[in-house]
Symmetry: C2
């Protein structure tokens, strides 16, 4: 189920529609995700009494409506205010009555999670019966620890229903599966794991719900990144029965689908329909355009080429070919007259000073301003095109190429930008009969084209080196000494970490974008801006 944060009415209606479908299919229980009524994460909405009050009212409406699906138990996730404290809860309604309520025990407060800001732990076990089978409840983090399951089993549960809002990152399914298998084998309780699907700001929930039988085998599984009714059958002992499983998909296919869903949901859930993208003739903006077209439709995407005197002809050609292959109309606005006017205005102040990064940034900011103007006038959101490697080391211009509402590939290291581009072209070869990202874009040396004959590698280490250092340090949290021990030059590692630290202020003002790695530059990266800790000194 794809809940929308704060849209209590729409979420109520989705839950009841699922209940009607479940009832029509002969099911006895319909399980929805964690906080399915509120959306996840509601963040500081949970501090508003009016939000909690309205949630309670809408929850009562679900209780009443449960009479329309006789005999069906509806499991709803919702915040629960009780005696002046707030809990992350699940309620079970059947035939107009509240059957039982459970409140989460283990509250994650790390990485992207801040649940102890809002909730108190509980964990008092609850079991309800369906056709003689005793079902226990758990919520997400509960099954990453032994306590809640043990309590449910002690209470007599024969199978566990787990409400989840577990965000996607690459490799997450295997993590979830390993944890759930351990949990099942420890408790001997078959489990049905229902996960949220959809984009919410920087988080993408992949759905991918599944069931494990008592032996810890995956016996049922939903497709990823789409809403889906997974019907799980339990035998008389409460064990889950096997059914055909969907084909697994590649890491590239998963990452691509996550970016498409994150982008679509950010744009649509915020009441917009279309996007504006500045093309450069490079791979980042080409991939962003492909994702935007897949997310929103070609007719909802405006592509703009904003050449300067430093823009190569092949950049113009490649951008045009890419837009054409994706069926997007391309507008061209030369920026020369704008940067000339800016430089003329600044000339008295800059007298006697040599050109430097300032003039490069002017070009980028002229482009950012044009894109924002097109956005303002057309009501389409600017989709930013920067990648994670650039954002990590500050190879990007605040209010320039960083300007925009949603930063589609901000969690893709440069190497992954190429991997997903090749992936999209492989799909295109089958569907469109040829690449959507022209081959030359994938083979040229990357350049910001902000001065003559510039390439990214004038300023940065080679991308394979940079990406490996960043993946180890940022995404996997490895120590500098260990990174150097893998063979990286110590001076290069320290230079990358210095650039990383000094560009924190840019990331703080960056647009949100979908998270697809274990650590993105967002809720799970909370560094002070004012920060003088230098690894240089530590390693001296």
């Amino acid at each position: 189920m794809n809940s929308v944060v704060g849209d209590l009415i729409a979420n109520r209606d989705s839950i009841l529609a699922a209940a009607r479908r479940a009832h029509a299919a002969g099911a006895q229980v319909v399980l929805t995700p964690e906080l399915s009524l509120a959306g996840y994460p509601p963040e500081d909405l949970l501090l508003r009494a009016s939000f909690l009050q309205r949630t309670d009212e809408v929850l009562s409406e679900i209780a009443e409506a449960s009479t329309q699906t006789p005999g069906l138990a509806i499991v709803v996730g919702h915040p629960w205010a009780r005696d002046g404290e707030l809990f992350n809860a699940a309620s079970v309604f059947r035939d107009g009555a509240l059957v039982c309520q459970y409140a989460k025990l283990e509250l994650p407060n790390y990485a992207v999670f801040d649940e102890r800001r809002y909730f108190r732990p509980d964990g008092a076990p609850t079991v309800f019966e369906v056709e003689g089978i005793r079902l226990g409840l758990a919520i997400c983090e509960d099954v990453w620890f032994p306590r809640a399951g043990a309590l449910a089993r002690a209470e007599g549960a024969q199978a566990l229903l787990v409400l989840n809002a577990s965000p996607f990152h690459l490799g997450k399914f295997d993590e979830r599966l390993a944890v759930m298998r351990q949990h099942v084998s420890r408790q001997g309780l078959p489990a049905v794991f229902c996960n949220l699907v959809g984009g919410q700001d920087e988080l993408v929930f992949d759905g991918d719900s599944f069931a494990l039988n008592r032996a810890g085998e995956v016996v049922a599984r939903s497709p990823q990144f789409v809403e889906h009714d997974l019907i799980v059958a339990l035998d008389a002992s409460g064990d889950a029965l096997a059914q055909p499983l969907p084909e697994p998909s590649s890491a590239e296919a998963q990452a691509y689908a996550a970016l498409v869903l994150g982008t679509r949901d950010y744009v649509r859930k915020n009441g917009f329909r279309g996007g504006v993208i500045g093309l450069s003739g490079g791979v980042d903006s080409a991939l962003t355009l492909a994702i935007a077209v897949d997310a929103l439709g070609a007719d909802q995407v405006t592509a703009v080429m904003m050449p300067s005197r430093y823009t190569a002809d092949i950049s113009l050609e490649d951008a045009a070919a890419c837009a054409k292959a994706l069926g997007v109309a391309l507008t061209t606005i030369p920026i020369g007259p704008i940067t000339d006017a800016l430089e003329a205005g600044l000339a008295p102040s800059f007298q006697g000073l040599a050109p430097d990064l300032t003039e490069e940034n002017l070009q980028s900011r002229a482009r950012g301003t044009l894109l924002m103007a097109l956005s303002n006038k057309t009501g389409r959101l600017v989709l930013t095109t920067g990648n994670k490697s650039e954002l990590a080391v500050g190879y990007c211009t605040l209010y320039g190429d960083m300007a925009g509402a949603y930063s589609v590939i901000k969690d893709l290291l440069k190497g992954w930008v190429y991997r997903l581009s090749h992936h999209r072209n492989r799909v295109a070869a089958a569907v469109q009969g040829g690449p959507v990202i022209p081959e030359r874009i994938l083979t040229r040396a990357p350049s910001a084209e902000l001065r003559p004959n510039q390439t990214d590698q004038d300023s940065l280490p080679p991308y394979d080196v940079l990406d490996d250092i960043l993946a180890r340090f940022v995404e996997r949290g490895e120590r500098v000494t260990d990174i150097v021990a893998t063979g990286h030059d110590k001076a290069v590692v320290l230079r990358v970490l210095r650039l990383l630290r000094l560009s924190e202020y840019k990331r703080r003002q960056a647009a949100p974008g979908p998270r697809i790695t274990p650590r993105a530059f967002g809720r799970d990266w909370r560094y002070p801006l004012t920060n003088r800790f230098s690894e240089q000194e530590y390693l001296a």
Copy 2:
């Protein structure tokens, strides 16, 4: 003490310098703030093994150096990694030896605090003896609850030393005092409360350390917003002895000093010296300029006037008079040619479409781009001039007037902008012999001057109404029904809340700025961008 986050060497040196001064003054204990060695808050630096390891090494250096101040107990705040878990701790060193260690019990995880992201609670009581007096330790939030003090007393403590990193907001001292008085009266333990001073990103710590005797009276107190050695004498029973207290200062004087300190520390701790400010002839930029001059010195501030065809002559005159009164050179860069070039570039795309906010935003973004260019070229940080009322309702342009490194008055509602301007002029009347913010700036109707004859009140409710609604809803967390009950028009309240919700995306990309109210738009305001909860529906 003004610690710098991550600057372990400088913080070590500050602690040892304080120890030498304390020793020279004949003191037996020197008490430093919470996490004095690391700076507060270190945020995700606490997740880095290298940072923790280096902290341990530097802590050992303090232990060794304590031999140079014989007999003096040095109380240092620091993160403490123990058995794979992390604690917010205090260590006492004397004559080269570790005397005792304490780890915080109560970990705040609300408002601006995220301590449960990093730390585990402990609270095992520790008491050490100085000239026959038994001293207990507590850390900040510990004294907001009864447990830690009761444990210390049970352990035999006669007085409590409290390490704090308690951020300033208006009225905070009275809160702290009330809490500490209750704590003292409950435990019968005199207490010395040592607080951090200085700006750290959006937080400003005001120092304002104090001591309470057993009767709960304030018997010693430091001045606010400056580093200061407060020497507190205890009698043989451990009770704190009285000394002259500093004069209390007005709310306006406190708020102004907080903004000056926050601005100075953000600029300097990040390795810069100067600031660039766009003047408009209005009160927001005039006050920002005054604060910047007081923080950095007039010679370190660049003021820029960027008039358009809509800029009134009196705006030019007033901006010039303000810059002159503050001793700042004023540069003028007309933006007409730049917006003309932008509009010409966009003309083919905008054919047949009426002028709207787009053209107003172009002016603002041309100015933002010019300011950023001046910043890039001169190495001075752009200081943004928007106030909290504007930022709340989105009456500001992303990448335009919002562009910059530090947003000096972002936590001042418009009424407070006037209050602090009058305050600064009162100081100026005594010091400079006349106002630094020209009287006409304080009496004219506010205008963004982005179209002919515009005033803010064309788009917004009167500021006294807007400010009161925002103060109640944002700063004091009042319910909408209660706000309406005070006499505000329900439709106006709902309109303000709608604008507040719809401008969340702007605030997410805003520059940081100093917090001076109980709730600023920063770490203590964590709303989802994608959020469909409408108070309209709740109140229907």
